[in-house]
Amino acid sequence: MAVSNTEVIFNNLYGLFTYLAILVGVVVFALMAFLIIKYRERKNSQDPDDTPRLGRIPMARGHGRNVVITLSLSTIIVVALIVGSFAAVDTLLTPPNGTWCYGLIPGFGAQSPLNSDCPRIDVIGHQFYWDFRYPGPHAHTDKFVFRLPVNGTVVLDVTSSDVFHDFGIIPFKIKTDAIPGRTNTIWFVPYQPGNYLIQCFELCGSGHYYMNATLTVMPVPAFQQWYNST
Amino acid sequence: MNTTYLYLLVFAILVGSTDIEVNIVTFYPSASNSVSLLFGTIALSYGVIVSILLGLAGMKALLIALFYQHLKYEPRSLSSWVLIGLVMASLLMSLVFIQLHVH
């Protein structure tokens, strides 16, 4: 089962791309291999009639029709990819209102009374760690371990306090740049409790390789208990 | 027309346009009292003045290019280097403008 909604979106789109990629790749490689083998030089074969020879510019060869066919087929394929990408990015970049609130855990897609004033979590990159700032009433900042409730819609506002970082939750297949002076927003819904690796994805200095954190997704009661105790 | 006269004429237009540019800034709408309005109440919007200024600059550039750099009398292809550069620079600025202002 998927670990987050963003992973589902990614897998579906990646699957579409890979399906088409394998199709195109296999066709092209098979064609190349077939042609090279079929038309390889043999002892008794002759050079074709239109072999370019030193002494003249070669004859033009080829039909514009083939170009049109190639372009048309390619366009059909890429349009599918573009449409799929647009649909996916619309979802990825449109955070729903609200996030978890103390005492109120909205489900993804549910018609629950989301309070649009529900505060969001700030993620701030530093050289070389992440700050996770929780909203009130138990506002506090965590480093290294990022706790969230399962099945809750989480909206993160990501920025940096110093240099250009990139905040990525690896298994969730979601990341965004952390740029000083800008705030970028991502959102997701974790589906499964567990520990997930967060790393920095933009070279930010000598400590870039250990700028990690762990996302711990907890069952809702455990999360509420933890949050209330902070 | 004698080329020298042509060059002098172009020069006169260039200087005259510069004079207009400098004076037009007095038409900026401004609450500060350091800018005096020429006719008492006329003020042009910021956007209009910027357009006029850039338009005048473009005209001056065109005159210098066509007559001093002789592009009017050269093969068209020679202008292409600069024109392509201008197109590229415009693409850069337009796309960045979209980045900054269109969400």
């Binding site: 002494g55 619309d90 | 510069t18 620079a89 850069l92």
Partner: protein
């Protein structure tokens, strides 16, 4: 023609301007950098082969990954390709050299010294270590207080200068020096690929130069272009990638040209749809300038922009589809000879398909949210840059080795080289696609990530691939002495270089060939390809002169390059006295002054040197008929300057848009002084054009007066500017609070001021010559050329004045 006795001393190579020798210098030097950067890569791969490794410290790892990228992209891929371009293009178009041979030599020496600067950066507190993409604000002095980055930036600036000189040279050569009948449409694909590449170079590199300049000024003077939190990071992102994306096509296209032509030769068929291949290259080159935002997909630029860039980026894959299908269709009814060059170029097509398909993944803004900054990206671009570009260039090396040396390499060893390289390549890079979770540029990783197995496999592949290249070097070195004699056309190819002996004599063609209407070649009276002398149809084609190789020697290119090297080194190696003080500009004056003085002497010597360049009169020159070569070169250069200033002005717009407040008109700068400067410069344009009028009418006094007036007005401009700068500086404008308005002004008008200063030096040179009586007897071109430059400088000011003083 007799064989000239060629001096084998070092000075022959130091002073050569012959395109073939410069081509060889480029190829050998780029292979040296290839080995150096490859060793860096192997060290990195070893470090990454197991988790929690500490073979390389993180600092060193970051430096290695950065320098590996910079060396490969700038000092290996393009120079390797241009080594071939230098050697082969004049031969393929029927010319005897490039348009500006000394400029060509200078390009090479600038390339060499720039590489020295980049490698030397390790010694100055550490080489650049933030990736070849050098993102802000980590590159600011605050976060990178060492000066290795400055020295590296000096190396980059020097290579941009080298490339710009090459672009101008090749553009003029390819438009103005083609043999009679060699219309653009008759050129093989390799020259077309180079032509498209240099167009991209001309218009992309000035953006990089502007970015490097602004970065250096930020670091040295404490300005805030890229370090400001009001968008500084995105300014670098935009300006860098506007250059960066065309750049990656620049390093790819020459190889595609080689691949296309080699496929035709080794399949014994004309290329399928060659005009469509060429059209696709042109389309891809144009589109490459509007896709750069795909490197910024998750920077928060807004959904409209990201969708726009997704569309343009995916669209750019379409011309490449056409190219690949055309190359594959060439195989139909062919007779495929699987020599080494064919193996490498066909293999390159296969790897290019994989690289290109995975590029389409990255073009999707949605997938990029997961794949950005991961090894998927690393795999993608290595499939293109190594799989398509390097393999294609190695194919070119095997293809043209017989022509350049007169010897055949060992075919069996070359085939083994291919097989081992191809297998090693895929073991090295394919696992990286599967490492799509792993961040790039990390020095090591934890054991529990599970990445170790694939990393180890990749490292093994890396060693296989790297060690396989030993076979290449052994093969070529040994074959230099002991290879079989190749003869002029061992591959039975059709392009013009194969009509010459292997290796060609110093002067290339005895007689420039003519291409008749029916496409046949004619060399004087002799049938077939022999390089005969004599004139077809009794008319003179070329002058048939073979000039001694020694005539083409000049010491100035290498001296100018050396002077530039020590000048820029002096500017960048000054140690800051206090790392916490923003203004750290501390040039090492002895080197700066030595470099400047030597440079001026060398440039003067260069201009004064009598260097015979044989300009053929009977050439194809569409679309620049009647335009002399130097004038064409100057206009080409001005096209690049448009981008350079365009980016500087664009940066000004960018920072101004992102600033909450900006000083009102007249509060920071006196409109009066700007007005005065504008009038002064406009008048100097008038005097400059009057100088041309005087020169054309032969009036010495008029010319002297006009040049003196131009000089005086230029000096006046600089004096007014200096007083303005001093008064602004004294009033504490250079402070954090006033930051960007003042700094954007200082930098943009400062760069313009340097251009004015250069114009002043040119005016002085012209004055000295006028005293000696030059320019008055129909040789007024220098005055005209100076005017073209000077009026351009005036045009730039015409825009700067309202932009900085009036709005």
């Amino acid at each position: 023609m007799s064989q000239e006795i060629l001096p084998a001393r070092i000075s022959r190579w130091l002073f050569t301007t012959n395109h073939k020798e410069i081509g060889i210098l480029y190829i050998i030097t780029s292979l040296f950098f290839f080995v150096a950067a490859g060793l860096l890569a192997l060290t990195m791969r070893t470090q990454l082969s197991v988790s929690d490794n500490n073979l390389l410290s993180p600092d060193l790892y970051n430096q290695f990954v950065t320098v590996h990228g910079l060396l490969m992209i700038f000092w290996v891929l393009s120079p390797f390709a241009f080594g071939f371009a230098n050697y082969i293009i004049p031969l393929q178009i029927g010319a005897r050299d490039l348009a500006f041979p000394r400029l060509n030599a200078m390009s090479y020496w600038f390339y060499l010294v720039s590489g020295a600067a980049m490698i030397m950066s390790f010694a100055f507190g550490g080489a650049p270590d933030l990736g070849w993409t050098l993102y802000s604000p980590q590159t600011s002095f605050q976060f990178t207080p060492t000066i290795g980055l400055n020295v590296g930036a000096a190396g980059l600036i020097l290579i941009v200068v080298s490339i710009t000189m090459s672009s101008v040279n090749f553009l003029v050569t390819m438009f103005k020096m083609r043999a009679p009948g060699m219309k653009l449409k008759h050129m093989p694909v390799f020259p077309w690929a180079i032509l498209v590449t240099i167009f991209m170079m001309l218009y992309a590199f000035p953006s990089f130069l502007a970015a490097l300049l602004l970065l250096y000024v930020d670091r040295a003077f404490g300005t805030f272009y890229f370090s400001s939190i009001q968008g500084g990071a995105l300014l670098w992102d935009n300006v860098f990638w506007f250059f960066g994306h065309p750049e990656v096509y620049i390093v790819l296209f020459p190889a595609i040209g080689i691949i296309a032509d080699a496929i035709s030769t080794f399949t014994r068929k004309p290329l399928y749809g060659s005009k469509y291949i060429i059209g696709s290259m042109i389309a891809a080159a144009i589109i490459s300038f509007i896709v750069w935002g795909h490197h910024m997909f998750i920077t928060g630029i807004g959904i409209t922009s990201t969708k726009l860039y997704t569309v343009t980026t995916i669209a750019v894959s379409l011309p490449f589809d056409v190219m690949v299908i055309a190359m594959v269709e060439t195989l139909v009814k062919a007779r495929v000879r699987l020599k080494a060059a064919a193996l490498f170029t066909l293999g390159a097509v296969g790897l290019f398909v994989i690289g290109g398909i995975t590029g389409v993944y990255l073009a999707s803004v949605a997938l990029d949210h997961a794949l950005r900054g991961t090894y998927f990206v690393v795999a993608h671009f290595h499939y293109i840059m190594v799989g398509a570009s390097i393999m294609g260039l190695i194919g070119g090396l095997y293809y043209w080795f017989p022509k350049m040396t007169g010897r055949m390499y060992n075919e069996g060893l070359a085939k083994i080289h291919f097989i081992v390289s191809f297998i090693g390549f895929n073991i090295l890079y394919f696992p990286m696609f599967l490492l799509l979770d792993m961040p790039r540029r990390i020095a090591t990783y934890a054991p529990n990530t599970g990445w170790a197995a694939l990393n180890l496999m990749s490292t093994v592949g890396g060693f296989i691939f790297g060690l396989a290249q030993i076979l290449l070097f052994v093969n070529l070195f040994a074959s230099l002495r002991r290879g079989a004699v190749s003869g002029p056309n061992p591959w039975e190819a059709w392009t013009l270089e194969w009509s010459l002996p292997s290796p060609p004599p110093a002067h290339d063609f005895d007689t420039i060939p003519t291409i008749a209407e029916d496409g046949t070649y004619h060399f004087g009276n002799s049938p077939g390809y022999p390089n005969g002398s004599g004139y077809p149809n009794g008319s003179k084609v070329g002058n048939g002169l073979a000039y001694s190789h020694l005539e083409g020697q000049s010491p100035w290119p290498v001296v100018v390059a050396f002077a530039a090297f020590i000048f820029f080194l002096g500017i960048t190696i000054g140690q800051p006295s206090n790392p916490n003080v923003p203004v750290t500009f501390q040039p090492f004056w002895p080197l700066v002054l030595d470099g400047a003085i030597l440079g001026i002497i060398a440039l003067y010597g260069y201009s004064r040197e009598r260097f015979p360049v044989h300009e053929e009169t009977n050439v194809e020159s569409w679309p620049f008929r009647g335009v002399p070569n130097v004038k064409l070169g100057i206009w080409t250069f001005l096209g690049a300057e448009v981008i350079f200033f365009g980016v500087l002005i664009g940066a000004y717009f960018f920072v101004r848009t992102n600033s909450a407040t900006w000083p009102a008109v007249g509060s920071l700068f006196e409109v009066r002084s700007g007005f005065a400067m504008t009038l002064v410069l406009l008048t100097s344009s008038l005097t400059a054009i009057m100088a041309l009028v005087s020169a054309k009418t032969g009036s010495r006094n008029g010319l002297m007066a006009s040049l003196l007036a131009t000089f005086g007005l230029g000096v006046a401009f600089l004096i007014i500017k200096a007083t303005e700068w001093i008064s602004l500086g004294a009033s504490g404008v250079f402070s954090v609070a006033n930051g960007l308005p003042a700094t954007s002004y200082f930098i943009t008008t400062g760069v313009h001021g340097v251009h004015v200063f250069a114009g002043m030096l040119m005016t002085l040179y012209l004055l000295v010559n006028t005293v000696k009586g030059r320019y008055l007897k129909g040789d007024y071109q220098a005055i005209e050329h100076f005017g073209l430059y000077w009026h351009f400088v005036d045009i730039v000011w015409v825009f700067l004045f309202p932009l900085f003083y009036l709005i």
